[in-house]
Symmetry: C2
C-alpha cells in the first residue's frame, strides 16, 4: 500500500498538466488571441480550476507560453552582431521583434502595458537587455549616442506593431524604424565613419 514512495510523491502529474496546458494554449492562442481560458482548459481536458491554479491570470499564461520564444529571439542578438554592422543588427532585430509581436498579439501588450511591466519583468527584462546590447555596440562605433534608455526604445518600437496590416502597414513600419534610428543618432549630426 506504500502511500508515498520517494520524495516527489504526486508532484509529477501536476507538472505534466502544466506542460500540457502550455502546449495546447500555444496553439489556441495562435488560432485566436482572444480564446477563453475555459475553452483552453476544456481542450486540455483539465478542470478550469487546474488551469487557474497553474496560471492565475490570462497574462501569466500568455507570457509563460511565449517566454521560451522570446528568449530565443533575445538569444539571437549575439549572432546577429557577429554578422552585421551594429546599426543594421539593431534594425534587423527590431523588425524580428515587431513581426513576432504582430503575430502573437498578446505579447505586444505585455511589452507595453504599464501594468504588465510591474507584474512580469520576465519578458520585459530580457528584451530590454537585448536592446541595451545592440545600442551599446552601435554606440561604440559612434552611430548612436550613449546613455539612451533601452526601455524608452521598447516603447518607441511598439509603434512598429501597431501599424495596420497589409503592405501599406509594412511600408509604414519601415519608415517608423528609420525615424527611430534617427532619434538615436549622436546629437552632433556629424556622420562618423566607423574605423576600419
Amino acid at each position: 500500500m506504500a502511500p508515498e514512495s520517494s520524495s516527489g510523491g504526486r508532484r509529477s502529474d501536476a507538472q505534466r498538466n502544466r506542460s500540457r496546458i502550455l502546449e495546447v494554449a500555444y496553439r489556441a492562442f495562435s488560432d485566436d488571441p482572444d480564446v477563453s481560458l475555459n475553452s483552453i482548459a476544456k481542450l486540455v481536458g483539465v478542470g478550469a480550476g487546474t488551469l487557474y491554479r497553474h496560471f492565475p491570470t490570462r497574462e501569466a499564461l500568455l507570457l509563460a507560453v511565449y517566454q521560451e520564444e522570446v528568449e530565443q529571439l533575445v538569444g539571437s542578438v549575439d549572432r546577429m552582431l557577429e554578422h552585421e554592422e551594429p546599426l543594421d543588427a539593431f534594425r534587423s532585430w527590431a523588425r524580428k521583434l515587431a513581426a513576432y509581436a504582430r503575430i502573437k498579439h498578446g505579447i505586444g501588450e505585455a511589452l507595453t502595458s504599464p501594468e504588465a511591466q510591474e507584474v512580469i519583468g520576465a519578458t520585459w527584462t530580457p528584451v530590454s537587455r537585448a536592446i541595451a546590447r545592440l545600442l551599446a555596440a552601435a554606440a561604440e562605433r559612434g552611430e548612436v549616442r550613449e546613455g539612451v534608455d533601452p526601455d524608452d526604445v521598447i516603447l518607441l518600437l511598439s509603434a512598429l506593431w501597431r501599424v495596420p496590416e497589409g503592405e501599406a502597414g509594412l511600408a509604414q513600419a519601415d519608415r517608423l524604424l528609420e525615424l527611430i534610428v534617427d532619434a538615436l543618432r549622436p546629437r552632433t549630426g556629424v556622420q562618423v565613419r566607423p574605423p576600419k
Copy 2:
C-alpha cells in the same frame, strides 16, 4: 387624433436618448474605462437594445463620447502656434494629447489600433491634420524636415501614453518626446537658426 403632426414625428425622443447616453457614458467611462455597456444602459434608464441601436459597438460609443473634446484639443493648435515657436507648440500639444489619452484610456487605443483606424477616421483624421499643421509650421523654419507623415508621428507619440503611471513615467515621457523631436529634425544635422 393626428398621428403625425410635423415632419419630425417621434424622432425627438430618440435624439434625447442619444444625448443622455452620451452624458452618462462620459461619467461612467471616467470612473471606470472598463464599465459594461449594459450597466451604462441601466444607469441611463434605457433598454440595452436602445444603447446598441445608437452605438453598435463599444468603440463607437467611446469615440462619440470623446469626439467633442478631441475637437477642442485639435482646435487649440492655431492658438498655440500664435504664442509659441512651432517646435515648442508641437511639444506642448503632444503633451496635451498624451495627458488626455492617459486619462481617457480608451481614446489612446482608438488612436493606435489598426482596426479603429479603418472604422472611424472621425477621431483619427482631425488629430492627424493637427499634427500636420504643427509639423508644417516647424518645417517652414527648418526645424523639422519636410515630408514626414503625420500618421507616423501619431504612432510614435503613442509611446507617451504607454508610460507607467507616476513620476518616473512622466520623466520617461519627457525623454521620449525629445527622442521623437530628434527623429523629426532635418537630416543635415546642421542646426538652422530661425530667421529673426
